[in-house]
């Protein structure tokens, strides 16, 4: 029993001791580096001073106030939002993959993003404020999944499969309605705004977005983290989970609601950003294995870091900002393809 003596503490994730420090350290380092990257040319020493002034109570250095504003009011919120959105999409994807026992689904499977897109598009057409656009996206994202669940209720057999099918149906319904709106929208003003929103971007993020998205994201992520070990049992299949004493109906609903809530919140502030929910859980599984107890925290860390890195590229690669949804697609797809080819060696 050499292994157990070495690990020794409660709920040991044996011989994965390096995981936790790395999971915390890497995002922190990337966040700090990201503060130095951007169009606004700021002296690195000034940025250091701003950070240290913010962190250390006794430290107070002279920094130009417009620079302070640029870093703390523009760059920092965007960085935090990128982290949060990446975390949400990744953990949402991992949870749905566990629930549906299929590594190919992502949190968009139940029509969340289609619903949210419709909500945003309709709010843009009616010239609503950005807060209303977000709210509308959030509400319609939830509504889409609610409808999918409602359809699912009418079927008694194989609840998981019908839930996926219901999600596909609702998703395509909302996609068609988005197409209808873009088709009829004013091509000079409204159409570009809708298309830009659909491509996904963190460009306009501000502290206000953070305040809007934070509560549902934190709530959903916390619950998913709390029930993460049970996702293992649920991923063994409906009957197995029942035989192991799991109230599968209740657990499934909890997972769906939490994952939908965080995905809707993410989509509502950032538009549709693909690939994170699919790629990150895969990558995580290659690194730490399929055990959701370690996988979900890993996805949080990796998802946040990945999207932040992508957003750094999005905002600095060219003079005009590239929508991040395009970056994650163009960069994510080849990375994913590469990982798949060496997947067998990793896992």
């Amino acid at each position: 029993m050499a292994i157990s003596a070495e690990a020794g503490q409660k709920g040991r994730p044996r011989n994965k001791r390096w995981v936790l420090p790395v999971l915390i350290l890497v995002p922190v380092v990337v966040i700090i580096i990201s503060l130095f990257i951007g169009k606004y040319q700021a002296n690195p020493i000034d940025i250091f001073n701003i950070i240290l002034t913010k962190i250390l109570p006794f430290y107070d250095a002279e920094v130009p106030s417009n620079m302070r504003t640029a870093i703390l009011q523009v760059r920092l919120p965007r960085i935090l939002l990128a982290m949060l959105v990446g975390m949400s999409l990744a953990i949402g994807g991992a949870s749905f993959q566990g629930l549906f026992r299929n590594p190919l689904v992502s949190s968009q499977i139940l029509g969340v993003s289609s619903g949210a897109s419709f909500g945003a598009a309709i709010a843009i057409v009616f010239s609503m404020s950005s807060l209303v656009i977000q709210l509308s996206a959030f509400v319609f994202g939830l509504a889409a999944v609610g409808l999918a669940l409602l359809i699912n209720r009418f079927y008694k057999t194989s609840p998981t499969l019908t839930l996926v099918l219901a999600g596909v149906v609702i998703g395509s319904l909302f996609s068609s309605m988005v197409s209808l709106i873009t088709y009829t929208a004013d091509p000079n003003i409204k159409l570009p705004a809708i298309v830009f929103w659909l491509m996904g971007s963190l460009a306009s993020s501000a502290n206000q977005d953070l305040m809007f998205a934070l509560p549902p994201m934190i709530a959903g992520i916390t619950v998913l983290l709390l029930i993460r070990w049970r996702l293992n049992v649920l991923s063994m299949g409906e009957e197995d989970a029942k035989a192991l004493g799991i109230n599968t109906d209740r657990l499934r609903i909890i997972v769906v609601i939490c994952a939908t809530m965080i995905t809707s919140a993410a989509v509502s502030v950032s538009g549709v950003i693909g690939w994170i929910g699919l790629v990150i859980p895969h990558f995580g599984r290659m690194l730490v294995g399929p055990d959701h107890k370690i996988l979900l925290p890993t996805c949080l860390s990796m998802g946040g870091t990945y999207l932040l890195l992508m957003d750094n590229i999005a905002r600095t690669a060219t003079t005009a900002e590239i929508p991040i949804g395009i970056i994650t697609g163009i960069i994510g797809a080849p990375i994913f393809a590469y990982l798949l080819t060496r997947g067998s060696r990793w896992s």
């Binding site: 157990s4 020794g8 503490q9 409660k10 709920g11 040991r12 566990g98 026992r101 299929n102 590594p103 709390l226 029930i227 993460r228 070990w229 049970r230 293992n232 049992v233 991923s235 063994m236 299949g237 009957e239 197995d240 989970a241 029942k242 035989a243 192991l244 004493g245 799991i246 109230n247 657990l251 599984r285 294995g289 399929p290 055990d291 107890k293 896992s347």
Partner: protein
Amino acid sequence: MSMQIINASFGYRKDKIIFSGINLETADNGVLCILGRNGCGKTTMLKSLCGILKLNGGDILIDGKSIIDMERHEIASIVGYIPQEHNVGFAYKVLDVVLMGRAPHLSIFSSPSEQDYKIAEEAIEMVGISYLSESKYTEISGGERQLVLVARTLAQQPKVLLMDEPTSHLDFRNQTLILKLIDKLAKSGLSVIMTSHFPDHALSYSGKIALMHNGQFLAQGKPADVVTETTLETVYGIGVKIFTINDPATGEEFRFCRAA
């Protein structure tokens, strides 16, 4: 631990009854074998016994308490179920799979503790597959997988063990190993209810046999009384001959059957 099935019936639809009017009682520790043809309702019966399927009529009592009044985790901490076929989406380690047996004993927000890991490791050791515990569940053989599921159910620490055709996909050696293991578990105080479509297994290992045919119990009791040429011919619809031999070394009597 006693399990009582009272006038139980089940059908997936109203016009498709799987079994009805079933009565059964297991009072003693030991092995009860439900014997019958493919599709006669054995699996459905076991699934009802652990609450995966809900009866349409009748009742199942666990130590006098109706299964209808019990929470899922309550049932699972008394009754363990080992399914026949199993496919898993993710490549969990064997230890992690066995650890899932602790689920009925943990509250919804908690993860396994050190104690749970110890119980899982003991279960793995008891089944004799310690060498597998770091292997991936998806990469081991069917026989090994069956043993892992037995270990998982032992980690559940149930009082009744339901096994659905425990030998169905196994080779001769693994069949013998698993049947020996069942015997050992029954002797250690567990009640085992298993299904089989193979009369010889029932003849050689079971304490009690229930012969199932067309959703009814044709006969139940001691193997010698229940498994006869006549009953087997009725159930399987073919001619059957039963032979008795004595082991010259021990003088022990064995019965086995052949299709005539």
